[in-house]
């Protein structure tokens, strides 16, 4: 570790010397990236990096080609990485996706920014909260990069989707007028990005469950872990790779909703609010209309199996759980969320299951004993003849 640390210091010192030497000379321009800030002067070297204090390897190398074909390939480095004025970069600030990036947004002519999305996101279930209403344990909450993981270093192949034939044909038409191939490809990529599902259903479920299956983390926020999705027919279809099988976002972000604006189900604008359920289940106007004939009775039922909340609320000895601060948070929430009829449903389902378990044990157990006795008696009978 020490060795690498030394190496990093050395390379930084070298970099500083080089920068001073090259100050007067022309800045290093490349074909792909308009690097007017001359960052690639150092960051083009693949060995550039260091181990940070916690032992994580940090790579500061920027692959020019990959960056050029990424969504942010047209941006200057300082548009996102604010405060890079000193070398070594000691005053660098964390990237803030809501900052303005000096690129003019063509429809309005104003500077582009993700602020709109970020504001929405902060007000949603996943956001830190707005104004004085901040959430506890902000470290558990996902940031932009948690879901938007790799637009920076994705191989150019991935940007183009699955059907090469489609790209060849449509892009050729664009390039009849837009003769600069690099520009045409970028614009095509930008536009078609919204037409494709970037992640498969299984990947979506993996992404959401990476937090939502963590019972402890979820309990801190008063919600139950979501393993119960995997008891549904929806998940079985996803497992078998059925086309358009419903993953998390099919119901929680159906047509007309935004992933950045997920609300609790008590919120009137949530797709899983009881008032919006029929529309969500039928998904009319979506690529796949799932339950076109859904009635209110069908749609307002429970989709995930009953989980911890119902279990806690139905159990007789709540007092034992109460000692745990987080569990009591879940119970508190469950009392608000679960209606009496839902709790009744949970108890009935549990009873039916228990009845069958006992029935199976008795019937099959009895049969086994009976057949064993019959076997012994038959053998005895055959021998005696």
């Amino acid at each position: 570790m020490r060795f690498y640390g030394l190496l990093a210091v050395k390379s930084l010192v070298l970099a500083v010397i080089f920068v001073i030497l090259q100050m007067a000379s022309a800045s290093a321009q490349t074909d792909l990236v308009t690097d007017t800030e001359n960052c690639l002067f150092c960051h083009r070297y693949p060995n550039m990096g260091r181990y940070d204090k916690s032992g994580n390897k940090r790579i500061y190398y920027v692959n020019e080609k990959l960056f050029a074909s990424s969504v942010h390939g047209k941006l200057k480095c300082k548009s996102c990485h604010a405060g890079l004025d000193q070398i070594p970069h000691t005053n660098v600030k964390k990237v803030d996706c809501s900052s303005s990036c000096h690129i003019k947004e063509p429809s309005t002519g104003k500077e582009f920014s993700h602020a709109n999305m970020v504001d929405k996101f902060q007000a949603s279930v996943h956001g830190a909260g707005t104004g004085g209403d901040k959430k506890d344990h902000p470290e558990d909450l996902p940031n932009c990069k948690y879901c938007h993981d790799n637009p920076m270093y994705r191989a150019p192949d991935g940007v183009w989707g699955q059907s090469n034939a489609l790209i060849n044909e449509t892009l050729a038409r664009c390039m009849g007028c837009h003769t600069t191939s690099h520009w045409a490809e970028r614009f095509y990529s930008h536009f078609t990005h919204r037409m494709r599902k970037r992640r498969s259903q299984e990947e979506i479920v993996a992404l959401c469950t990476s937090c939502h299956e963590d019972q402890e983390k979820m309990a801190r926020h008063g919600i139950e872990s979501i393993g119960t999705y995997k008891d549904t027919f929806h998940w079985i279809q996803v497992q078998y790779g059925v086309k358009d099988a419903p993953d998390c976002i099919s119901c929680h972000i159906p047509v007309g909703y935004s992933a950045h604006d997920i609300r609790p189900r008590t919120d009137r604008i949530s797709p899983i609010n009881m008032d919006n359920r029929v529309k969500t289940c039928s998904n009319q106007g979506g690529v796949q209309s799932c339950h076109p004939g859904a009635t209110t009775q069908f749609a307002t039922g429970r989709v995930h199996a009953y989980g911890m909340k119902a279990q806690l609320l139905a159990s007789q000895n709540q007092a034992n759980f109460m000692e745990d601060e987080h569990i009591s948070l879940v119970i508190e929430r469950a009392e608000k969320d679960l209606t009496k009829s839902e709790l009744f449903h949970y108890k009935v389902l549990k009873l039916v299951k228990l009845f069958y378990k006992i029935l199976i044990a008795f019937v099959i157990g009895g049969m086994l004993v009976h057949q064993l006795l019959d076997y012994m008696a038959s053998r005895r009978h055959l021998k005696s003849r």
Partner: protein, 256 residues
């Protein structure tokens, strides 16, 4: 043809001993059994495919969605056929002579209870003598009753799940549990109860051909169903139904 060969191979050789054959299942009943059996196996396989662990599902690879599609179609086809056979069976019980006789012989009687206790005591060596059974004995009656109850429950819950959008989700949740648990019960019962009866039981191993030929030998008849045997022997009318005529013994399986 297969049936004929099976029959002639195993049974006709014994004819030289002057053995007679008794009908246990007539042709109609054997066909019902055959269709039900095939449907049951298809339903069990395609149904429990939903409960496969993830790593096994992954073995289907890129075919998994096609497999899933045909799984659903086959399950529905087999289910429909099974429901139709069950409905036909009700018709058979009520509107044919053989069916009515079956129904009357199958109805539970007080003797079944005493038979059950007697058999248990015989198994435990308390009693020396085995109780004498009529055409159907308590074990078969229980199995038949379980089959009717199971088929009814599976049909109703299956149809509910098939037309899911019309029903409240709570009802569907119950139907899902009942359909799944009843399936486990039925498959285990078939394995433990029925498979033993026709495959593992001493003298029946490796398989009892009754389901194909429909007849049993006189000796077995006398031993296993003595009461019924006596009844047949005392009643010429019943002999016409249950006793395979000697000149037709070669083709008994086809006629029975």
């Amino acid at each position: 043809m297969i049936k004929k060969r099976l029959f002639s191979k195993s049974k006709v050789d014994a004819k030289s001993n002057g053995e007679r054959y008794f009908v246990r299942l007539n042709f109609n009943e054997r066909v019902q059994h055959m269709i039900f059996l095939i449907c049951f196996i298809v339903l069990a396989i395609t149904g429990f495919m939903l409960k496969l662990p993830e790593d096994i599902v992954q073995k289907f690879g890129s075919y998994s969605d096609i497999v899933f599609y045909y799984r659903g179609i086959l399950h529905r086809i087999a289910g429909t056929i099974m429901i139709l056979v069950s409905l036909y069976h009700v018709f058979y019980l009520l509107f044919t002579q053989a069916g009515r006789r079956w129904l009357m012989d199958m109805l539970p009687k007080f003797k079944d209870l005493t038979d059950m206790i007697g058999t248990m005591l015989y198994y435990l060596r308390v009693k020396k003598k085995h109780p004498e059974y009529d055409r159907f004995y308590y074990k078969q009656k229980l199995e038949y009753g379980a089959l009717i109850a199971g088929a009814t429950l599976m049909s109703i819950t299956g149809l509910l799940l098939w037309t899911e959008e019309m029903w409240p989700k709570f009802l569907l949740d119950i139907a899902t549990i009942v359909h799944g648990m009843e399936a486990i019960l039925a498959c285990l019962a078939i394995m433990v109860w029925h498979m033993y009866e026709v495959h593992l039981r001493p003298r029946k191993f490796p398989i009892d051909n009754l389901w194909l030929t429909g007849v049993i030998e006189e000796e077995e008849m006398r031993e296993e169903f003595p009461l019924h045997y006596k009844k047949i022997m005392d009643d010429p009318e019943l002999q016409k139904v249950y006793l395979v005529p000697e000149h037709e013994e070669k083709d008994a399986s086809l006629r029975a």
